[in-house]
Assembly symmetry: C2
Homo-oligomer: 236 residues x 2
Amino acid sequence: MPSPPVDPSTLRFAVLAVDVVVFALHEETLRVRLNPVDRPAVAGREGFPGGLVAPTESSEQAAARRLRDKAGIDPETVYLEQLHTFSAVDRDPRGRVVSVAYLGLTTIAEDVIDTDAADSDTLYSGSGARWQPMDDLPALAYDHDAMASVAGRRLRERLRATNLIGRLLPESFTLTILQDAFESLLGERLDRRNFRRRVQELGLVEPTGEERREGRGRPAALFRVAEADVRAIPLL
Amino acid sequence: MPSPPVDPSTLRFAVLAVDVVVFALHEETLRVRLNPVDRPAVAGREGFPGGLVAPTESSEQAAARRLRDKAGIDPETVYLEQLHTFSAVDRDPRGRVVSVAYLGLTTIAEDVIDTDAADSDTLYSGSGARWQPMDDLPALAYDHDAMASVAGRRLRERLRATNLIGRLLPESFTLTILQDAFESLLGERLDRRNFRRRVQELGLVEPTGEERREGRGRPAALFRVAEADVRAIPLL
DNA sequence: GGAATAGTGTCTTTCAGACAATATGTT
DNA sequence: AACATATTGTCTGAAAGACACTATTCC
């Protein structure tokens, strides 16, 4: 339905962008995906993967596309939800750029290379992009600091209220791993017996029937998140 | 503030709009503010108050401004929070218009005139704008139907989790009124004694010390919402 | 056998839900 | 006195929280 083309000189307009704050869990550490930002105006700082929205795509589509292009992550493997739209007039030195930010959850892909373990504990993933621990973020480009803060708060809210933890974990996992994940994400220590009772009675997880034997010690039963789609569960 | 040196012919851009879904409570009925939409393309349908975002304002500022201009409501009296950004490519027949939607809560102003009580039970407020019962919405312009649905869901979530009910009620109120409000908003009936115990033990309300005598029957103590700012309360 | 990890049951306390009688005002 | 509305307390069942020992495997 092609309509009267809008004349930008008479209409108010803005450049529309998306940014995606992608979280993943790596050995009990919550990490976010950072990309180098090459614009001169922001002087070598990093930022979340993102970019401009094309005239023919919605912001959701743009977010998925940018995940692939800018972060090399298959959007199919990422849970995305809209986070917040940032529209401060001067948030981008280039001009009026409004950004629709998305929250993303994923499992860290296998292409992750743990180079340079000495230099803090950064995980690199090629081309300078990296998974940075959420509690050790550098100063970011644009208003991505604020974005990070909003995203972190929202992530915790959602983890408490839904079964989204499943999107941060591998297909199957032991209850110990699940508990470690919650403890580290929510920053509180939980009783093992009560925790196991809860997650099973609430129907958050179900046994796969397999078990994992690893190192010494008794083998652990494997579980999966019971339902694949996002479900409201008043959790912990 | 002359605007950004962006050349629209080379950059992807969109027209940026805001829409505000303002809720108010009138005699236990949840109502939203509707305005006539005059664009030919949407043929006499109504929509939420809104409009384009100026190059010099954030979407928050635009939302406040539009509340005043389009709905004649003092933004100071309205609680606003960002709801969702709607960016489907064809959501506006005029072209690419992306809308940042806001959720608004307010107390119905005194300028409300209950004309035409026969014609359903619409409350008019001058210039064709009206407060329409949320459970009796007509088909709306653009994608405002979807907006209404998102806003309704979010409103109920927020009412359950915070003290925002205070933004829908007058300064002080009786516990009966508070309970009626919850019952109608959440669509469930609550036990009087348990309800009163809860709201007081949770610290949602505190007595003002005054009482209201009205009609026959025992006078009721007046309460106010204990804290003015938004607070998380796992409510009902 | 010792070390390491996984797994399990009970008791207590707290909170949610069901339930009905009394108090205070008006007419 | 009749009526209308507001206010209050107890009992019961369910869920949350504290708490320590047994089971299985590897070395």
